[in-house]
């Protein structure tokens, strides 16, 4: 067995499991005024402080959500509504075309239902948005930009965006910028204050915490219009009873992710490089997706296009041998669609269907790499026979 789909979800850290299970036995609604409530609130606030510290933010800038998707929706829709409410001219949304669907579909929804004028910022062949491109886009009319959203690092091809430079450009025009940092957290240095971002999404289960918890890091001066209305928790921005066990576990995983990212990048990055070399040796015409420079991509990501193959066929053949990876393009119904990320980088639709994403994580071993090295050549050969049906 080789689990190489950590970008989808990574096993929980033992410490995080312990922190969560300990809290599951404790009663208390963090909004209650009595002792049980106070105890729960204390756990939440300590966790908030821990996570804020891990991410270079103030505790009040941490808004807990149910995960990355909710945080992305809150940032994109909430900031759009707030900015447009303040000035009706602000209807332009500048987004990268390689965003996760949680951002992409939220942005498209704004275009369809809220009169947003969405502009996708061109990316280079590695899938990167350049600060000059953003500047040019804003300069077309700085007064009508509602927000900018560009992910910190791409979930499919692993390309790291120049987030700080992009945020500098946005701030120059007083435009809030959001970044989805779900994949970056734990693999790169992610410092909210230094990034200059207005809002930033992180998620629990990509860093060894539980599924179902995430956070929007939100600068104190921003008050997005809520997506969820209710009890007024989390700065009145995100109502709902706080999930104390998940929050405690997430915060601990976040602390470990921030402390360990350099070691992770060295160790796992080294394994990733071996994986890339092994795949290239077995399939010489495999094309590495994203930025080939190790510093330009997530250390745990290896993305390939195999010309003449359907990614789905490869997935099936590898799955049958116990190797678990992904085509990189998520779809609810499970139908293979050409990856929008690959298409944005200029790949042809046929090429964009023949992709595989291997993503490593804290449980990855050399044995996993060896299994891929053995299996990938014959699998590609067989998938080519099956062709692009």
């Amino acid at each position: 067995m080789a689990y190489l789909d950590h970008a989808a979800t990574t096993p929980m850290l033992p410490e995080a499991i312990e922190a969560m299970t300990a809290q599951l036995a404790v009663t208390g609604n963090a909004s209650s005024l009595h002792a049980a409530g106070r105890r729960a609130r204390r756990t939440v606030e300590e966790s908030r402080e821990t996570l804020a510290d891990a991410l270079g933010a103030r505790p009040s800038e941490v808004v807990f959500t149910s995960g990355g998707t909710e945080a992305d929706n809150l940032a994109v829709k909430g900031l759009y509504w707030a900015r447009r409410d303040a000035d009706p001219r602000r209807t332009r949304v500048l987004a990268s075309p390689v965003e996760h669907h949680a951002v992409l579909d939220a942005v498209d929804w704004l275009a369809e239902h809220e009169g947003a004028n969405v502009e996708y910022l061109p990316v280079d062949r590695h899938g990167r948005v350049h600060p000059d491109v953003l500047r040019e886009a804003i300069l077309r009319d700085p007064a009508d930009v509602a927000l900018v959203t560009v992910m910190w690092a791409n979930n499919e091809i692993g390309t790291i965006m120049p987030v700080r430079e992009l945020a500098d450009v946005a701030r120059e025009f007083d435009v809030p910028m959001h970044a989805d940092a779900v994949q970056a957290f734990g693999q790169l240095e992610v410092d909210f204050a230094r990034s200059g971002l207005a809002a930033m999404t992180v998620s629990g289960h990509k860093i060894g915490g539980p599924i179902g918890i995430g956070a929007l890091l939100l600068g104190r001066e921003y008050a997005p219009v809520p997506v969820l209305h209710g009890g007024g928790q989390e700065r009145h921005v995100r109502s709902g009873t706080l999930d104390v066990p998940a929050i405690a576990s997430f915060a601990l995983a976040g602390r470990l992710a921030a402390d360990g990212h350099e070691e992770f990048a060295r160790g796992i990055g080294g394994l990733r490089d071996e994986l890339v070399a092994a795949v290239r040796a077995a399939v010489p015409d495999a094309v590495l997706g994203g930025d080939p420079a190790p510093g330009g991509r997530l250390p745990a990501n290896a993305h390939f296009t195999f010309p003449g193959c359907e990614g789905d066929s490869l997935l099936l053949l590898l799955d049958a041998q116990g190797i678990e990876c992904s085509t990189g393009s998520a779809c609810t119904a499970g139908i293979a669609q050409p990856s929008h990320v690959l298409l944005a980088t200029g790949a042809t639709p046929d090429l964009a269907r023949g992709t595989l994403r291997f993503s490593l994580g804290h449980t990855s071993t050399r044995q996993d790499i060896d299994e891929v090295a053995r299996a990938i050549g014959p699998a590609v050969e067989r998938a080519r026979t099956a062709g692009l049906s």
């Binding site: 099936l316 609810t332 119904a333 139908i335 067989r382 062709g387």
Partner: protein
């Protein structure tokens, strides 16, 4: 009996999301085969996967199939064969109706999709067989050849829609339900016993890509409407229609002829002429057919050399009838021992020798008892 394997096979189970294919996949897995489930996305509109429109290939069916695969404990994938399906089945279906014939899309799908596009891909990926929930039996002859036979339970037999499979296709086909001497209720009970949630799911429509079952409406939306005459056998106009393509030989309902026939008997569609957009109607006895010719024959094994006596089935749920048949220059000539009624060009004639499927061909022309010559369909 379904063939008992000497060794476990790598089997690709086509899972529609219905109860039959789920039980078939479960039986194949239980027999020790290495089974992988696959749901074919055949919808012309991939968006229906998001909007959840009803029909055979909706997201709901795909989920039902996946849920069943999870319970059986086999890997599951969705394969998008929509383009092939549209070209080989849906477009063919429309073109056949447009030409005044009555196609059977299930046969076409088995011939071109399940046991061609899907089977080819399965074989290329290292699978040995494709498994479906059809009720039919594959028997291995002593020389290793394959024969397709009717299901043990004649009432559920689906060998008619598999009559287009040749021996190579049969060699890689697996029908675990073929030897089931049980009612549909018992198949549902088996599904229930196996923990398959599709046990209570209603049966699907006959034509999966016409979700509401309204074939006429489907054709009208594709072919438009064109008013034409309904005439009787003497050529006298008795009514109008909105497109000759909407009719099937032998059809009685939906003719909307205001006044009754002079003899007061019901009138049936006798002939459809797309060229002048005319539908001919007449009494039931005028539907009696004594012989037919059929084209594009496909044989489950070797083609019969000379004339022979067979039983024939002329439509999906039709009965058997005694015939003699002979292949002449690639065209199958079939003569009925007793006249049969309502033979529609475009449908398949499937020939049987006892329970064994000999082959099939697409009906091209018929000879009416009331006429001397052949009537072009």
């Amino acid at each position: 009996m379904t063939e008992t394997p000497q060794r476990p096979l790598r089997v690709l189970a086509a899972m529609s999301g219905g109860v039959d294919s789920a039980v078939a996949a479960a039986r194949a897995a239980e027999a020790g085969h290495d089974v992988t489930g696959v749901h074919l996305a055949l919808s012309a509109n991939p968006q229906s996967f998001r909007t959840g429109a009803r029909g055979c290939c909706t997201i709901e069916d795909s989920r039902d199939a996946r849920r069943a695969a999870d319970v059986i404990g086999i890997p599951f994938y969705v394969w998008d064969l929509a383009e092939r399906f549209r070209e080989d089945v849906v477009d063919d279906f429309i073109a056949e109706y447009e030409a005044g014939r009555t196609p059977n899309p299930c046969l076409r799908c088995n011939e071109k999709i399940k046991f061609a596009a899907l089977l080819d891909k399965a074989l290329a990926l290292g699978f040995d067989a494709v498994c479906t929930g059809h009720y039919a039996t594959v028997v291995r002859g002593e020389d290793g050849s394959r024969e397709l036979h009717r299901a043990s339970d004649m009432a559920k037999d689906q060998s008619y829609v598999l009559g287009v499979l040749d021996e190579k296709q049969l060699a890689h086909a697996m029908f675990p339900l073929g030897d089931t001497l049980t009612t549909k209720d018992e198949i549902r009970a088996e599904a229930e016993r196996r923990g398959l949630a599709v046990a209570k799911k209603p049966d699907s429509h006959d034509i999966c890509f016409i979700a509401d079952g309204d074939t006429q409406g489907f054709l009208a939306s594709r072919l438009g409407t064109a008013e034409g005459d309904i005439v009787d056998e003497s050529g006298t106009k008795v009514g109008t229609h909105e497109g000759a393509f909407g009719f099937t030989i032998g059809q009685r309902k939906g003719l909307r002829i205001g006044h009754p026939a002079p003899d007061g008997k019901p009138r049936y569609v006798l002939d459809i002429s797309p060229v002048n957009n005319t539908v001919t109607v007449g009494p039931a006895e005028s539907l009696d057919v004594t012989a037919l010719t059929a084209i594009k024959p496909r044989w489950c094994g070797t083609a019969p050399a000379g004339p022979g006596s067979y039983t024939a089935q002329l439509r999906a749920h039709g009965g058997e009838t005694e015939v003699t048949a002979e292949l002449v220059d690639g065209t199958l000539h079939v003569t009925f021992t007793e006249p049969v009624r309502g033979v529609a060009p475009g449908q398949a004639v499937v020939l049987y020798d006892g329970t064994r499927v000999v082959g099939s061909a697409t009906i091209a022309t018929t000879v009416r008892r009331t006429e001397a010559g052949a009537t072009a369909g």
